[in-house]
């Protein structure tokens, strides 16, 4: 490799001294590009190991899941049988699948909605004049650092039916104990609280960064116009935060729809994949895991995985288009 990136860059700058921006660079004639083909080899050399690993372990498995979903494929099976769309046909009539889908969406709604509202509120609080801003942020991000397994174990304890702290508090303030694991809705609430505890601070810091990037002239103009703090927040800050908010929504969608560890560890029976005695808090991912590695039906589990993936992509795509639109509007306002 005799040529390199640095030289290539330098050549171009020599040839076109008037081209400081990227747009001008793109207008270099094709012939010119071709003559420097050698210059371009080293970028590929640098970038290829990354794509080899990423392709083998990231992208390929995704397509392979699709392939496996057309087979009757047992866990230890060297000759799987091709059955076409049968797995998907069974899936549509599978009551447990629909139950897990409802559970997943229910937990997702219970977690994402409150979580993002709390994150914005928390970011607004941290954006005021508080002493020791770093200390606050370190504290707020703390739950993100702990492992999901650790959090799952702690919260399964806190929500324990007999000695749990939460039921203790409920009793102290004169309410009835709740069997958090047994009831469908309460188990969803408990798992959502677990999720929110971990992610609220993380999202708050992302929103906070966006808040601090708002030019102060805009806020000062609002002050001059006589807008109070609350009015400023809703009429100035919040609209300018929309791109960031949508980003937070998209990432929490991708994460929230494939929630696995929390419901697995929440189960009163350690090691169980049922998500409660009547699957009351089994999520799609947990169901997929159970199908693949407990019932050893890889083909069917792949169909579940692929349906989950399509759902996630659809939701993420809607959000992405929304982001672009709103982000453009935001630019216009500025």
């Amino acid at each position: 490799m005799s040529t390199d990136l640095g030289t290539g860059r330098d050549l171009r700058t020599d040839d076109e001294p008037e081209a400081p921006t990227g747009k001008a660079v793109a207008r270099i004639p094709w012939r010119h590009r071709l003559s420097r083909w050698d210059v371009r080899l080293s970028p590929y050399l640098y970038v290829s190991p990354f794509f080899v690993i990423f392709g083998i372990v990231g992208l390929f498995p995704l397509l392979y899941t699709f392939y496996v979903s057309f087979f009757d494929w047992e866990l230890i099976d060297d000759n799987p049988t091709f059955i076409g769309l049968e797995n998907y046909a069974i899936l549509l009539a599978d009551a447990q699948f629909w139950k897990t889908l409802v559970n997943t969406v229910s937990i997702f709604v219970l977690s994402s909605g409150p979580q993002i509202m709390m994150a914005v509120l928390l970011a607004a609080l941290l954006n005021t004049r508080l002493r020791g801003p770093t200390g606050w942020r370190v504290g707020v991000l703390m739950p993100y650092v702990a492992s999901l397994v650790a959090i799952g174990i702690i919260f399964a304890n806190l929500f324990g039916p007999n000695y749990g702290l939460v039921n203790g508090i409920l009793e102290t303030i004169g309410l009835d104990r709740i069997d958090w694991q047994a009831d469908r809705f309460s188990s969803h609430v408990a798992i959502a609280i677990m999720v929110n505890w971990r992610w609220t601070g993380y999202n708050a810091l992302i929103v906070l960064a966006a808040m601090q990037a708002i030019p102060r002239e805009i806020l000062e103009a609002a002050v001059v116009d006589g807008a109070g703090a609350v009015r400023r927040f809703f009429s100035v800050t919040l609209p300018l935060l929309r791109p960031t908010l949508i980003f937070v929504v998209v990432t929490s969608t991708i994460g929230g729809l494939q929630i696995f560890t929390e419901p697995k560890l929440f189960d009163a029976m350690p090691g169980s994949n049922n998500g409660g005695s009547t699957n009351q808090f089994q999520t799609i991912t947990l169901y997929m895991y159970q199908t693949a590695f407990e019932r050893e039906d890889l083909g069917y589990a792949s169909a579940v995985a692929w349906v989950l993936f399509v759902i996630i992509i659809l939701v993420a795509l809607v959000n992405f288009l929304l982001t672009r639109r709103i982000a453009t509007t935001g630019e216009g306002k500025r």
Binding site: G6, L62, L125, T128, S147, F260, M288
Partner: protein, 302 residues
């Protein structure tokens, strides 16, 4: 999005707003001149919510088993004991810890080794293919790891890697790579192009540029992605769960999960194990908090 990456903006983001820098507090001071007690109180409330489960974890792990059943969960331990920690350490905890350190170190090493050259190429090359690849990489951010677990399992077994630490490292690194490369590429874009040109005039080859310019300049970003990757690897659960089996290859998260069944109702011992497992990562977090906080927003918002 694509055009944004192909047509690169000038190397120094003159219009980039200061983020959490010196300008921010000044702005706030102009708007509000008195300390905001209400905001402080509410923010403190959230910190209490954050702290209670962590306090519960540590306090319970120091209790005797009989005390755990009778005492109020939030009272301080009556006679603090390290007995639970002893139980945990005798239960094979140290082996899990060593496995975890190995997996984390190998994953971070692999991610840095692959992401740095890739990010350098993405930030500096005009090649259309490299930029297309970068768009593909962004799509990789959306691939849910859980949905690909079955083929990952099949591949690992076919490669005869099942039940080895390598089996955990490879997929963990692969799913950490997109974010790491994105963060690094963004930080390398901010390097003034004059620096690269100066190196080229000195006759430096691209490898020398990588070693003497890119590596030193990207050091904060490298620390950031290392911490993020270390967090992911340290806390990973589904890959170890699916890809390993025996006690020799058990990592901490699996060990904890195993303790949950093994200790049954011995919650103090279980919480001692949880505390021990979280301790190293909390220490790492406190040391590297500056890089972690800046890395949160490095991936987007430019």
């Amino acid at each position: 999005m694509t055009t944004q990456h192909v047509t690169r903006p000038p190397a120094t983001p003159a219009g980039a707003p200061p983020r959490g820098g010196a300008a921010a507090p000044r702005r706030r001071r102009r708007l509000r001149t008195r300390p905001n007690l209400l905001a402080g109180a509410l923010a403190t409330l959230w910190l209490v919510v954050v702290a209670v489960p962590l306090y519960y974890m540590v306090a319970s792990s120091l209790r005797e088993r009989s005390e755990y059943l009778t005492a109020h969960p939030l009272s301080p331990p009556m006679s603090p004991t390290l007995e639970n920690y002893q139980t945990v350490i005798e239960g094979g905890f140290l082996r899990y810890l060593v496995n975890n350190v190995v997996v984390t170190a190998a994953t971070v090493g692999l991610v840095v080794a692959l992401a740095v050259p890739a990010a350098y190429a993405i930030a500096r090359s005009e090649s259309r293919l490299v930029q297309r690849g970068f768009t593909l990489l962004l799509a990789g951010l959306a691939i849910p790891a859980q949905a690909t677990i079955i083929p990952v399992y099949l591949m690992i077994t076919r490669m005869n890697l099942y039940d080895s630490l390598t089996a955990i490292v490879l997929p963990t690194a692969a799913f950490a790579l997109p974010v790491a490369t994105l963060v690094l590429a963004n930080s390398l874009r901010d390097v003034p192009k004059e620096l690269y040109e100066a190196q080229a005039i000195d006759g430096a080859g691209s490898f020398r540029v990588l070693r003497h310019l890119v590596l030193p300049l990207a050091r904060p970003a490298i620390v950031t992605i290392s911490i993020f990757t270390a967090l992911t690897a340290w806390n990973g659960f589904i890959f170890p769960l699916v890809l390993t089996q025996s006690e020799e290859t058990r990592v901490l998260t699996l060990g904890l999960w195993n303790f949950q069944g093994q200790f049954g109702t011995n919650f103090p011992a279980l919480l001692a194990a949880v505390t021990l497992s979280a301790l190293p990562i909390f220490v790492l977090y406190l040391i590297g908090r500056r890089f972690l906080l800046s890395g949160l927003t490095a991936g987007f918002g430019k």
